[in-house]
């Protein structure tokens, strides 16, 4: 099976700091893949590079066999890749429905026509059904700024799926979701995505969720890939236990300080 995405020796440096090095990952069509690693390990940098937000310093990114290295984000998105964000990127002064309507209008690349408005009743139905898929249709008329973090995360993810991508990156989808809701949250999410046969790479700190939802797992450490393989093997890897899961445990006990510390590196 040819992979839908393949990266070869991907590298990104910020001045003297190496944020990512020798990243070689292959993702198959429809595959679900979890990524673990402490903050600053290079996970988001990797997603940023693949989605064109950060040009890689070296290496190559192949999507369906052809290079997308250095292409602008919008072109990569049009090829069928999309992502969600650790901090939801929404239109905060609008309500949820308007967020989705605008996203749909933009993503579907409606032809400009002077005689008909870009948004009509049909598009509104489409938006509502998308919201329903993620179970958040009841928030349709609430302004983003008034929503709890978990709902914002879902709107963010729902927005990433408006173009019906073949490959979706989810950056810490469960952060901000309360511990006892995480499992249900991921279930809704993965089911909604599986139904469309979307390949999903999600970054996650909760090992239980990784075990439950991703058959394969990649562990990042200090900008490199420490391990890549079936989830169980990776989680039992000695180095992974020492450098990744250990620090994960540490992170959980020290939740206040960690995000602030992590903000510095990309």
């Amino acid at each position: 099976m040819t992979p839908i995405l393949e990266t070869r020796n991907l590298e990104r440096t910020f001045g003297a700091v190496v944020a990512a090095r020798d990243i070689n990952i292959r993702i198959g069509a429809g595959e679900i893949l979890g990524v673990i690693g402490s903050n600053g390990a290079g996970k988001t940098t990797f997603v940023n590079m693949v989605t064109g937000y950060l040009p890689p310093s070296a290496g190559e990114i192949l999507y369906r066999g052809s290079s997308i290295t250095g292409k602008p984000t919008r072109e990569i998105m049009r090829l069928g890749i999309c992502r969600s964000f650790q901090i939801p990127q929404l239109f905060p002064e609008m309500d949820v429905l308007d967020n989705m309507l605008i996203a749909l209008t933009i993503a579907s690349r409606v032809k400009p026509a002077l005689l008909t408005p870009a948004i009509d009743a049909g598009r509104e139905e489409e938006a509502l059904s998308l919201l329903a898929r993620f179970g958040i249709e009841r928030y349709a008329h609430q302004e983003i700024a008034t929503l709890p973090q978990g709902v914002r995360k879902l709107v963010d993810i729902a927005m990433a799926t408006v173009s019906d991508p073949d490959l979706l990156f989810l950056d810490e989808p469960t952060s901000g979701v309360s511990a006892d809701e995480k499992m249900d949250f991921m279930k809704t999410l993965i089911n909604a995505l599986k139904a469309n046969d979307t390949a999903v790479l999600f970054i996650e700190h909760d090992m239980e969720i990784i075990e439950a939802f991703s058959p394969r797992c990649v562990a990042f450490y200090e900008g490199t890939i420490l391990a890549d393989g079936p989830t169980r093997e990776v989680l039992e890897n000695r180095k992974v236990r020492e450098f990744v899961i250990g620090s994960e445990f540490h992170r959980k006990t020290d939740k206040q300080a960690a995000p602030a510390a992590g903000n510095g590196a990309a």
């Binding site: 988001t44 940023n48 937000y53 964000f85 650790q86 901090i87 990127q89 950056d171 602030a260 903000n263 510095g264 990309a266």
Partner: protein, 298 residues
Amino acid sequence: MLTAVAIAVDGLGFAAWLFLSSVGLTLVYGVMRILNIAHGGFYALGAYTSAWAIGLYTQTGSTIALTYLIIPLAALAAGLVSGLLVERGILRFMYGRDEVLMVLVTYAIFLVLEDATKLIWGTDSYVSYQPAYWLGTIDVFGLPYTVYKFLIVGVAILVGAALYFALNHTRTGKLLLVVIEDREVSSALGINVTLFFTVTFVIGATLGALGGALTAPEISVVPGIGAEIIVMAFAVIVIGGMGSIGGAMLGALIVGFSRAAFVHLYPPAELFSIYLVMAAVLTVKPYGLFALSESRKI
């Protein structure tokens, strides 16, 4: 050779004036994210207060030396009163509003200040040249320059240094830097942002007034002088990077030297030299020379 020297000295003198006129603007923007058009009003108030006070004082026939004390006092009085009135009376009810809306608010305040100045001092010009003359001139390669000009350069350096020291080496200043850097974190750290805003705004207003007060002896203080410096000050702080004190200094130097160069080498372009420089700098550095770092978004 003489031209080069003249460009250097003239540029420095002009830059000092620009820096004094714009540093308050960049400080207020950095801390409060308000692009304060009323800054021009504070400048005018400072100039009028200083010219008027010097005029009253020199009529008594006492020594000119004391006028150098009157100037900062006039600036302090003008900045304190008007700054407090504007911040406590109007602005504090509008915090959190859109940045663009705040520009309109400060524009409205500026209009009111302009006419208030006219009501207080009338439309006749005020001249208070005594402090600028009293110190005499010194020759630089045969070109006479007033000592007062160098005094202004000195004050500009002093103000810059004082601000730098206050921001980087005092507790309050460091906290202020935190506010400039990240306001959400700053309120989480328990910083009294409201108090900081008031203090910053009053300091900004006083600095604007100081710019006017120091300039008053060199010019004729007339209605409309406030409007003239607004765009110039905006250009300086945009070139330097909004909210950066060092940026304002660098921006003032760049604008000052380039204007002096245009005047000496190609006078017709002086009219829009500042805009040429601004367009050129922004083309190369879209956020100005010392842009405040954006906190990471994703």
